[in-house]
């Protein structure tokens, strides 16, 4: 089973790279959907295994919720939002793509560097998985930093969340049920609020380019 997990974690990482390589907001959302699907798959596998071991179904429930929220609802919400706001095609990133991808590679290296020696993590096989998922988190953060548009940042945030969720799965095979549910709820609400914010920004500033709003300085 672990090799499944390894494969999935690598796929996640790849999806993160793809995301970083994207240029259009539409494709951000698609890539994110794909990544969430991978996360759901991962959850499903772990859920089945845990069900097979000791009839716990909570992970499965969580898997269902993940599919509901992350794979279906949030992308739908984002699509709607970005359809509503006026959107002009323009350069959406500070550094150009190749450099960003290069930096992402460095991030992966860095997370290897920082986890390789860490006692307790490199015991057993979870090492790679943690490293990958942690790299996903870093890449997500980098994505937020590198993208000018509001929606891009939301997507980046969601990628971070994915990464963390996956890390949780790899590291601990699921947090306590209520905690997981709470986390998912929080993400849902957060995204809704951010969506509303995007509307407000659009109506106040005439674009969703976050780089333009720098009135509050000093």
């Amino acid at each position: 089973m672990t090799n499944y997990l390894d494969a999935l974690s690598v796929l996640l990482l790849v999806s993160a790279f793809i995301l970083m390589g994207n240029k259009r907001i539409g494709s951000y959302i698609k890539t994110f959907q794909f990544q969430s699907a991978l996360v759901a798959l991962l959850t499903g596998i772990i859920g089945i295994s845990s069900f097979a071991q000791d009839g716990r179904i909570d992970v499965l429930i969580i898997c269902a919720v993940v599919i509901g929220i992350k794979v279906l609802f949030i992308p739908y919400l984002l699509k709607k939002t970005y359809a509503k706001v006026a959107y002009r095609v323009e350069k959406d990133f500070f550094l150009n793509i190749p450099i960003l991808v290069l930096i992402c590679c460095l991030m992966v290296v860095f997370s290897y560097f920082s986890f390789a020696e860490t006692m307790g993590i490199n015991t057993g096989t979870i090492n790679n998985q943690i490293v990958n998922s942690f790299s996903v988190i870093l890449i997500g953060l980098l994505f937020m930093i590198s993208r000018k548009k509001a929606i891009g940042q939301i997507v980046g945030f969601l990628v971070i969340e994915n990464g963390i969720f996956v890390t949780a799965l790899f590291a601990t095979h699921g947090m306590p049920f209520i905690v997981d549910m709470g986390i998912l709820m929080d993400i849902l609400v957060a995204v809704i609020i951010m969506g509303i914010m995007v509307f407000r920004i659009d109506e106040k500033f005439g674009s969703i380019n976050v780089d333009n709003i720098k009135d509050l300085r000093g």
């Binding site: 963390i164 890390t167 709470g182």
Partner: protein
């Protein structure tokens, strides 16, 4: 009693949504806060007697001990003050058509939701749920920050929610590592239960624990406004309505600090010393104080200035925790209390000033003593207090913290801190003292206080901080000592 504490704000939220009459809403808000205060009083009393309270229901998620009760008391008292203040404040806003009645409803709903989430975070013993609650505070307050819907308000709100969500996410990562470090020790029923973790601290996996601490520090530090994660704080505090700024600096920051303290307790217990944690915390703390010291000098907006001063004091608390001696922790907790009261007083006063002058720019304001006799005096004394002048309470706790630092013979940090504090005081004097004097007062607005309940509240707070500068009641002393014992361990 604990359930009352949690249910009352929820109930209030529901009532706000149901009942639409304006005056009723004021009544509900104040009544709810009063009930909470009473409940908190009972809790405190129980804790003083029994050491801690734990309810078995729902997997016994509810647990309150001295440490959390201190913060809870801060929260409820300040929310009481705020809700009393809000009555007059909102009335004025409505009078000047800055606000409609149903916007006011939203305000109250969000405010009490915020208080609820904060209390939840303080009363649970599962760190995961605590995390959920703290994230929820961000969500609840996001719209409050952007409440006035102006360009700048929206900007502030966006930065607030973005930065805090990311930060909090990092904290979640830390919590995952925390659980990971305890996998081998605890069974699934007590995962993330910090009581259990404290008990088995020594058996946890050290390296993972260190990672966990790093991430949690970054995460909760973001919400606690520690440099360099503080960046959202000045914007949010300056843009939010003054009562909300009060809640944020008096409640939110302490809540996050509470989270950090819990984790630090576990980590240090596990390592048996405070080397690793201490160094990081002290560095971050000093960095925060430096940031404040540098930025206060060239502030043009008095609410931003107060926000920076909040950063400074959070930094001091962080340093106090970093040294992790009984004295320093006592000082840190005392400082937490004193700072929240003083800062709330100041932010509430800015509410009055803002409503009088309709500007946040220092250069546009003068003759405060003439325009707002009471608020002016309170604000000036408050500035002295926050600058660490006796006989106000911030002075006392700062002295304790500094002495604790020197007790460890850490002259560099101590001397630096003292000088930085002096510089910050200078900055406050240079920038803010222009407000008070001068005779060229705006014609269109006649002198006189607008917000009578608000004035009563700030005077009350002034009394509290003045007394606490020279004397604290025995109960409080015992409570803080208990809390210190909890953190350091018997």
């Amino acid at each position: 009693m604990g359930y009352v504490l949690l249910t009352v704000p929820l109930l209030a939220v529901v009532l706000f949504i149901v009942l639409k009459k304006k005056h009723l809403q004021h009544v509900i808000s104040v009544a709810a806060s009063v009930t909470m205060t009473i409940a908190a009083g009972f809790l405190t009393w129980a804790v003083l007697k029994g050491g801690f309270i734990e309810y078995s229901a729902w997997g016994g998620f509810f647990r309150v001990d001295a440490l959390s009760v201190i913060v809870i008391d801060i929260v409820v008292i300040i929310s009481l003050m705020t809700s009393i203040f809000s009555v007059g404040y909102l009335e004025n806003e409505i009078k000047h058509e800055k606000l409609t009645t149903d916007r006011m409803r939203i305000y109250y709903v969000l405010m009490h939701a915020f208080i609820f989430t904060m209390l939840l975070a303080l009363t649970v013993k599962n760190i995961g749920i605590m995390w959920v609650a703290i994230e929820a505070t961000t969500l609840a307050s996001a719209f409050l920050v952007g409440f006035y819907n102006g360009k700048e308000a929206i900007e502030a709100a966006w930065k607030y929610i973005m930065i805090c969500s990311v930060g909090i996410a990092i904290a979640l990562l830390g919590i995952i590592f925390l659980q990971f470090s305890s996998l081998a020790v605890l069974d699934s029923s007590q995962f993330l239960d910090w009581t259990a973790m404290i008990d088995h601290a020594t058996e946890l996996q050290g390296p993972t624990l260190r990672l966990a601490f790093i991430f949690i520090l970054v995460g909760f530090g973001t919400k606690a406004g520690l440099a360099p994660m503080h960046t959202w704080l000045p914007d949010a505090h300056s843009q939010a309505p003054s009562p909300i700024s009060t809640l944020m600096s008096g409640v939110l920051l302490n809540g996050s600090m509470y989270g950090i303290i819990r984790i630090v307790a576990i980590v240090n217990r596990s390592f048996g010393n405070s080397m690793f944690v201490g160094r990081i915390l002290i560095a971050v703390g000093i960095l925060s104080v430096v940031t404040a010291a540098v930025f206060i000098f060239s502030q043009k907006d008095y609410k931003r200035l107060l926000a920076y001063s909040s950063i400074e004091h959070m930094g001091i608390i962080a340093i106090a925790i970093g040294f992790f001696t009984p004295v320093s922790l006592f000082g840190g907790l005392l400082h937490m209390i004193n700072h929240s009261f003083t800062k709330s007083m100041l932010f509430l006063s800015t509410g009055n000033i803002l409503q009088k002058y309709n500007t946040r720019e220092i250069s546009k304001i003068s003759g405060l003593f003439k325009m707002l006799p009471v608020t002016g005096v309170v604000f000036l004394l408050g500035l002295f207090a926050i600058g660490g002048t006796p006989p106000f309470s911030v002075f006392a706790s700062e002295i304790v913290v500094i002495s604790a630092i020197f007790q460890e013979k850490n002259f560099l940090v101590g001397g630096l801190l003292i000088l930085l504090l002096a510089i910050i005081f200078t900055g406050i004097v240079v920038t803010l003292f222009k407000l008070f004097y001068g005779t060229d007062i705006p014609k269109e607005t006649p002198p006189g206080e607008l917000n009578i309940p608000g004035v009563i509240v700030i005077v009350l707070l002034l009394g509290i901080i003045t007394v606490m500068g020279l004397y604290i009641p025995n109960e409080l002393r015992i409570l803080i000592d208990q809390a210190v014992e909890i953190v350091i361990g018997g």
